[in-house]
């Protein structure tokens, strides 16, 4: 995987036991955090989402100071940090053992470099044929159960396609394989409601917050594929790409719009201030 530095439960180590529930059942959560000049970006939303995801699975949440310290330790300069929290050992089968020690993995990686054209000119995306399943108990949670994303990402190898969009069985667009989706129509911004499937990204939450603070309406809603196509602007967010304009989906093309540009600027400003 090429991690520069890895801490497992605070100790320098890059392996876990084969009995860990993270491997056995995908029983855990993770976050991917961009670090610039030793400073994790948007850490407040990463920590909030970690806490929320841990609550959904009944996992203990590590202290913020502890996590921030370990992130600083594994990524002292520019880079990416992956945090994985699992329910620890799988001695008792599926049944969680109350009070059992969880596993905390904090791994630093070199920065991911994307072509500048993606943020500037936008990206081409495709609609995946895989349809997400609906599980309200896990909706929104960035858990280690990500086989749907793996199968969806395996659908294409055309390097000109930057992302695949995933839908639910009801005909709504839900998310990208590695990103959240926003649509803009008549100055109003909407992003899919993620209460039945999908992953709530830290970047998604920050963008909603920043738009709200700027007085731009941004609501969660069910969004049909036809509404996506009819949008004035579409953009994708995650913690490593910030916000990419969608320039093309099949035969539909979009110019980069003003709201997308504004969101990009808001993210950059917040990163500088954070």
């Amino acid at each position: 995987m090429g991690a520069s530095t890895v801490l497992v439960d605070g100790r320098a180590r890059d392996t876990i036991g084969i009995g860990d529930r993270g491997l056995a059942f995908g029983d855990g959560v993770f976050r991917t955090i961009a670090v610039r000049a030793g400073r994790p970006l948007n850490l407040r939303w990463h920590l909030r989402r970690l806490a929320s995801d841990c609550a959904a699975l009944g996992l203990p949440v590590p202290g913020e100071a502890l996590l921030a310290g370990e992130i600083a330790q594994v990524a002292p300069g520019d880079g990416v940090v992956k945090v994985i929290l699992t329910r620890g050992d799988s001695t008792r089968g599926y049944a969680p053992v109350p009070g059992a020690a969880p596993t905390r993995i904090v791994a630093g990686f070199p920065p991911v470099r994307h072509e500048a054209s993606r943020a500037r000119d936008g990206v081409a995306v495709r609609r995946c044929s895989l349809t997400l399943s609906e599980q309200p108990r896990l909706a929104g949670v960035k858990s280690l159960n990500r086989l749907e994303n793996v199968l969806a990402r395996a659908e294409w190898d055309d390097v000109s396609i930057a992302e695949g969009l995933l839908g639910d069985p009801r005909g709504h667009v839900v998310e990208g394989v590695v990103s959240n989706v926003f649509v803009v129509k008549d100055q109003r911004v909407r992003t899919p409601e993620l209460t039945r499937c999908g992953v709530i990204g830290a970047q998604r939450e920050r963008v909603r917050e920043l738009l709200g603070a700027a007085g731009v309406e941004c609501s969660e809603a069910d969004i049909g594929w036809d509404e996506l196509e009819a949008a004035d602007e579409v953009f994708l967010t995650n913690s490593l790409i910030d916000a990419w304009p969608v320039a093309r989906l099949g035969s539909r093309t979009w110019p980069v719009g003003p709201v997308t540009r504004r969101v990009q600027a808001m993210i950059a400003q917040d990163d500088a201030r954070d």
Copy 2:
């Protein structure tokens, strides 16, 4: 986890790298195999199901002789062997790397001892409140994405309840948390069709095969909760419990029936002959 012996890719080792896709995404499959006097039971169906599950995920299947040899190595006497196959390293994110080396984990454990009364007198089960999600692409596959089972198993800690039954959103019973379900009505045996959710167990497949060979009708079907309650007999199967009669679900009780007894005898006979 207390594994006696573990082989990772054929080498004695009980850890995997934190970048393994089995941990990162649950991108892999597993089987749990009972071993008696150094002989893995029902290996033919375990191997068939492994091959089928690997095909569903696009994973390479290890050779049968290789696997059988490693199973013999980690469980020379009585015990349980867990085989985990993952897609290997997660360097490229969700995108599978064609031809990349998978990870093969073969781990031996001491035998699991259940009270003899469970097979003899039957067990009490409960209906879980968690509803399984429907994903035809993963239905039947014993993948490492098992958070639904974890959440369902966390619903009860009453030790008098041996198993929880899970349903789908359409009102059918699908499986137990760790077992497959069979219902008997008027001498006809049925087991839930697992094309939208659920895990196809090796023991389930063997029982279907043995019943068929004995001229007992056994079909896959959608089975409503009311049909379950109306059944003459209900039994549960997996590779470690063989077949347990269901004696109670809520206020409904069942005596142990003749078809369940016959299935238990068939399994024992097949294990002896295998």
